[in-house]
Every structure is written in C-alpha cells, then in structure tokens.
Amino acid sequence: MNYYEIVIVGAGAAGIAAAKSAYEAGCNSILLIDRKKEMGGILLQCAHRGFGSHLTGVEYTQKLLEQFPEKIQVLLDTTVLSISPDRTVILSGVAIGFRKVSFDQLIMATGCLEITLGSLPVAGTRPEGVYTAGQVQEMVNIYHQLPQGPVVILGSGDLGLIMAKQLVLEGIEVLAMVEKKPKCGGMARNQRCLSEYNIPLICSATVTKVLGEEYLTGVKVYNFHTEEEQVIPCKSLLVAVGLCPDQTLIYGLGTLNWIHLCGNCNVVHPMVDAVILEGQKAGITAWDKIQRGN
C-alpha cells in the first residue's frame, strides 16, 4: 500500500492549482489523479476563448502545465472509486491496476456534473438525440463528431450559448434557445452570438415534452406568458440548464476536516480564475494541516 501526504482527485484547473501550491509551500509527497488520459479536465474540451482573458481552454491548460513542477506524481487514466474514513482511496486504472492508497489530507477537485433531462419534469419519450451541452462539447471538440441538426437548446446559460455559437460555426442550424427566465442567462460576451448569428431566443418558456420514438423528432415548447404550446421539429436537443458540484465520492462521509473541496466541486464558478484561486487555497490549507499535525 502506498502513502502520500496529499492526494488530489481531479487534474483539472483546481487540481493542478492545488498540487502546485501545496508543492511550492513545501509538500513533496503529492499524488494527483485523473480519470482522463491527459491533465486539464473540462478545459480540454473548451475550444472557445475567454480563459485568462483571451486563451482557449486547451491553450490555458498548456500555460498551466508549463509551470507545473515535474516532481509532483501524476496518475492519469485512473479512476478514484471510493474514499474511506480511514483515509484511504481505492483506485482503478489501466496502468496501475486496482489499488489502495492512504494519505493524510485529501483534496477534492472533481469538478461538476451537468443537470440532465432525466431530473427535469419533462414529459415524452426518451429517444436518441438528447444530450447535455457539455456532452456535445466533448463530442465535437474531443471526438470530432457533430450532433444532427437542426438543434434546440434548453437553457441560455454560458455553456448553452457557447455551444450554440460553436454549432452554428460548424454549419448546424440552431432553431432556438429556450430560456425559463424572462431574459438570457449567460454573460454579456457570450450573449453576443445571439445577434451575430441570428439565433432565436425564446424567453419565459420551457421544453415540456420530448417527441420521437427511436430518434428525436421534435420538442414541445410552452410559453409561460402567452400560455401557448408549439412543437419545434428538431433532431437534437441540448440540455444546458445548469451544473452542480460533483461530490458523489464523499456522499455519506459527513464533514471531515481532512477533506478539502475546491473549484467546481465546491461551488460552480463562472470563471476559471476563481477556480485556480480556490485550488491554490486548498493546497495551502492541506499543507498547513499536515505541518500542524492536524
């Protein structure tokens, strides 16, 4: 069994920042784990600009990694299956197999989960062609596959807007963005794509029903103001209604003073800069605890 002073789950922006700050503070027994084959987390599927002001997610990751201390041990292609109260984690990976690792402090940097259609009170069938926005982002930017158009996007937050713009640029028709609130949900700079590419935004409305047996054929959109319902025929539906911190690994563990949450698994942040700051703070707090012997 291996022992590390700090184990960090997730090598996205928060995890990278946490590892680096703990190392720089003086900790030299750190294990950073990620389930993907590369470091960077969700940044890797972000082809749009806006990270550290003007970079793409991929460029931003490169910049983060340029300054990443070589001495920090990184374990990729490895999933953390569970965390137990005796301060061990169970890992499973192609290279390392199935293994138990113990630690003194644990930093959770697992990011967030997207809210899926399943958790929404949307009626209808469950055909192919319904995705979360982030899933499509990964499909397009990592797997180079496009969803079938025309597309309807439920939710007009940043991720929804970013995907609307990208799909239009890929030549896919975005028929509508459907927003529950009276106005668009995203940041101003992301909202610009609506007018630039003539993407219709239907506010005070929601998708009430999904249509189509095997494949999606359309969605029913209900307008709260007019109280009218219209069917929009489409082949893909992107659900972009929100994100929630992914704390699945610590369900049922209660509050433990050796677990430190940072980045989107703590609170969902609109900007990567805040994620980095939280990661750094978590790294330092964890190292402090070790030095003070808890």
Partner: protein, 468 residues
C-alpha cells in the same frame, strides 16, 4: 427457406423464456425479433416486481403460476446468475375503501397459499417501514414479494437459450403466416420459415400476429404509466410499497430495485401520443402522491423519468355486424390456441415477469407434447453473468485487473463499470448504448450516460469494424 420445428415470435422477456424452455426438449427453434436486440419493447419499462400472488383470483392459472413462480424465483435467478432480492412488500391504505380492498386481497392470498402473508395495523406498518407517512390505516405484508431487473432477467434467459442451441434472427419482422400441409409457413422480412409450431409472444403486436392467420378473438387496448428513478445515494424504503388509494386503481408503487435506486411507478392512464411517452399530468400526480406517502424520500434526487406501455387484452364481440373489443380488460392470462401447434400469449401484463419462466414452461411442454418431442438431456439451465468488478472483493478485483487491464479501465464512473464488461456485453449481442446498458448497467447513474456514452459508442463502432 429455412425449416425448423418451432418459431418463437418476439424477443421480450416472455419470448426469451419460451425459447429457453423449448431447449429442454429436442426441438429446433428460431426466435424472431423485430428490433436489433431483445428486451427492447414492453420488457424495458416494467415495475421490476416479483409478486407474492395475493392479487389473483383463487383457483386461476394466474394465481397458481404467480405463487409457484415466486417460490422458485431464487433457484431461477441462481441458475441464470441474475440478482434477485426478496424485499418483502407492504400494501398500505389510508382509509376505509383501501382497508376493504386489503381484506379482500388478504383472503385471496390465504386461499392462494401465499406464504407469510399478514394483515397488519397502520402502526405496525410504520414501525416496519419508517419511510411511510403516518395515517396508514391498515397494511398487507407479504414477505415473499421481490424485485428483479426485467431486462437482465430476459437477456439471461435469451443467452441461456442460445447456449442450448436456440437460433435467433434479429431485425426480422413477421409479415405473413400461412397454413401448410406440414404446419405453418412464416413469411419474414428475411426469408420464409417452414415450421410445425408457432409460439406468438409478440407483446404489443401479439393480437395482430395471430390475426395474420386467424379471425380476431382478442384485441389489445394499450394504456400507459410513468416511472421516476431516484439516485441510488438517496435514502429509500426497504420494502416494496404498494399504495392502495381510496379511489380504486389510482395508487402508486415504490420499488427499491436490485441496483439500489428507488423506482416510483404511477397508476395506469389511457395512452396519449407515442408509445413509451410520459404525460406531465400523470408525472405530477405521481410526484405529489409519493411526497404524501413517503415524505422522507427526497424527490429532488430524481435522475430519470420514462413511460411504460401496458397491453390490455379485450375479448372481441359482435356489435351491429362488426367485431369490436368488449371494453373489459381480461383478468386472466390469455393463452390462445386457435389451431394445433399455434399458441399466442396476448396481453400478458402483471404479473408476467413473475410468471415468465412458468409461462415459458407451460407453452414449451404443450409444444413438446404436440411435436412428440423427446427431452433434451443435455439442457444446461445455468448461464454465467458478465463479471462485474463492482461486485468483487478487493483481492478478486485486484487479481483480475492484473490479468486483464481492461477490468481496471473504468468507463462508467457513476456505476463503476469497466471497459472489459462493456466489451463482453458487446460480444454477447449488444448493438447499441441501450443494449450495453441493459447488459451491464452503464449510464444508470447520476450523469445518465452523459460522461461515458461517447466512449461506449467508440467501443461499439470498434466491434462493428472487427466484424467487417
């Protein structure tokens, strides 16, 4: 043209069990399924309950099969390596109407020899099941009620049938049936099949399949219902809860499944629109009743909703020179035998899952008798499940990963499912993400497949290329 002894039409849970039981005899069989995989119809949306048998009319075939089917379910699931949990059920009522129903069901249950059945007070029910709301007036406790995953069970029977020599044609639709001197000729979208016996288990199309050759006697009228699935990290009741509403037929059902998710099912409502479509009204009703009777269950933890279709058989009667359904859903199992060697299961609904193997045996035995078939002494009732890393202890899992690194590659993070399991599911016949889900359980967690679908698609694609 193909010549066989028996054609089974329909690869739902019933068709799969009919095929499996036919293999107990020296009979050659082709199982025909319209879709590209089995268990993709009515089977996929089911309450997953193995009933105790108090609902059925004493003395009926249904009552007999349910009680016996339930009794042997442990053995069946052991043979097929399918998880089965006898959670026990509480039917709960909140008023005088429900109490009356409960008394009647209790009497039926006693006459049907349902083991351990007890009519208990509301207080005792709430003590047994702390999740229940106060105000329960009486409850019927059945310790033998259990739960099984319907598609896992159907697929297990399917694999066992194949392993014993059953031939399967997927993506094959039956378009005509003719009587021949020898037996029957089945016209399919692939080729003609000559056979001596036909076992029609075509689910939603069972009435139409029979009508390809015979005059209509039974017609299926469909209704629908709603299901909600809760995240398995949420606290759930330990028992299966049947809510007997004061308004007959309007109660809901709560099932803690073998996977640990709570499954909430609405009462039935008339079909509206597409098959397997949910209705908002009925979903809202389900939520509000669930909140009333199981107040401690966190309904914000719903991760999926889906619709079910139930075929209800009605006898056809003549009205003004026309044959029309008589408007009354038939209570008993409809097993039609319009001509020698031709059997139809039409509109087998609850408790069809409980009785799947019993009905399969029943039809297989009659077919064997008709064909004068000899028993197949080589029949192997045992089927091996796909090895699931999440169910292994540390040492077993560790040594398995050492031998095959694919067992270490976790693809579905929510449910802890490895690449090796997915590849095995594909090898055993999964052709779609749903097919993989039904075999190993991927995509059933909180992210609902949004994180792993792409990887699974690639694995499916890879397997298709290998075949080419």
């Amino acid at each position: 043209m193909k010549v066989v002894d028996t054609v089974v039409i329909g690869g739902g849970v019933l068709g799969c069990f009919v095929a499996r039981n036919l293999m107990r005899w020296k009979i050659s069989v082709v199982l025909l399924e319209e879709k590209n995989d089995v268990c993709m119809g009515v089977t996929k949306a089911n309450t997953a309950i193995v009933y105790a048998g108090y609902d059925n009319q004493p003395g009926s075939l249904k009552a007999e099969m349910t009680v016996h089917g339930n009794e042997v379910f442990d053995t069946l699931c052991k043979d097929l390596e399918v998880p089965f949990l006898r959670r026990g059920s509480l039917m709960v009522g909140f008023g005088p109407q429900a109490d009356k129903v409960m008394q009647k069901k209790f009497n039926h249950g006693i006459r049907n020899n349902v083991p351990g059945l007890r009519l208990i007070s509301g207080k005792e029910a709430c003590e047994m099941e702390p999740h229940l709301a106060s105000g329960v007036t009486s409850a019927l406790y059945a310790p033998t009620t259990g739960t099984v995953n319907p598609w896992q069970l159907g697929i297990a029977a399917y694999e066992n049938a194949i392993q014993n020599g059953c031939d399967v044609w997927l993506k094959t639709k039956v378009i005509g049936i003719q009587k021949t001197e020898y037996g029957y000729a089945v016209e399919t979208t692939k080729e003609f099949i000559e056979c001596r016996a036909i076992l029609n288990c075509a689910g939603l199309s069972a009435d139409k399949i029979q009508e390809l050759l015979f005059p209509p006697t039974v017609r299926l009228i469909l209704d629908g219902s709603e299901f909600l699935v809760l995240d398995r990290h949420t606290a759930t009741p330990e028992h299966i809860i049947f809510h007997e509403s004061e308004e007959a037929g309007k109660g809901i059902t709560a099932v803690p499944t073998v996977e640990g998710n709570l499954l909430l099912a609405s009462s039935k409502r008339p079909m509206d629109g597409e098959y397997f479509s949910t209705s908002s009204k009925s979903m809202d009703r389900l939520r509000s009743i669930a909140a009333d009777i199981l107040p401690k269950v966190d309904l914000n933890q719903v991760i999926r909703s889906f619709g079910a279709v139930r075929p209800n058989p009605h006898w056809m009667v003549e009205k003004k020179g026309k044959l029309v359904p008589d408007g009354k859903s038939i209570g008993s199992f409809v097993i039609e035998n319009p001509a020698p060697g031709f059997y139809s299961l039409i509109g087998i609904k609850t408790p069809g899952l409980t009785c799947a193997d019993e009905l399969g045996k029943y039809l297989a035995d009659r077919t064997a008798e008709y064909l004068n078939a000899l028993p197949n002494r080589g029949f192997n009732p045992k089927r091996q499940a796909i090895r699931a890393v999440r169910k292994m202890n540390f040492e077993t899992r560790n040594s398995l990963v050492m031998r095959d690194p694919d067992y270490g590659d976790i693809v579905c993070q929510c449910e802890d499912i490895s690449k090796a399991e997915i590849l095995e599911a594909i090898r055993r016949g999964a052709t779609s993400i749903a097919g993989v889900k039904y075999r190993v359980g991927v995509g059933m967690g909180q992210c609902q497949g949004s994180r792993c679908s792409q990887i699974i698609s690639k694995l499916l694609e890879g397997a298709r290329h290998e075949l080419l």
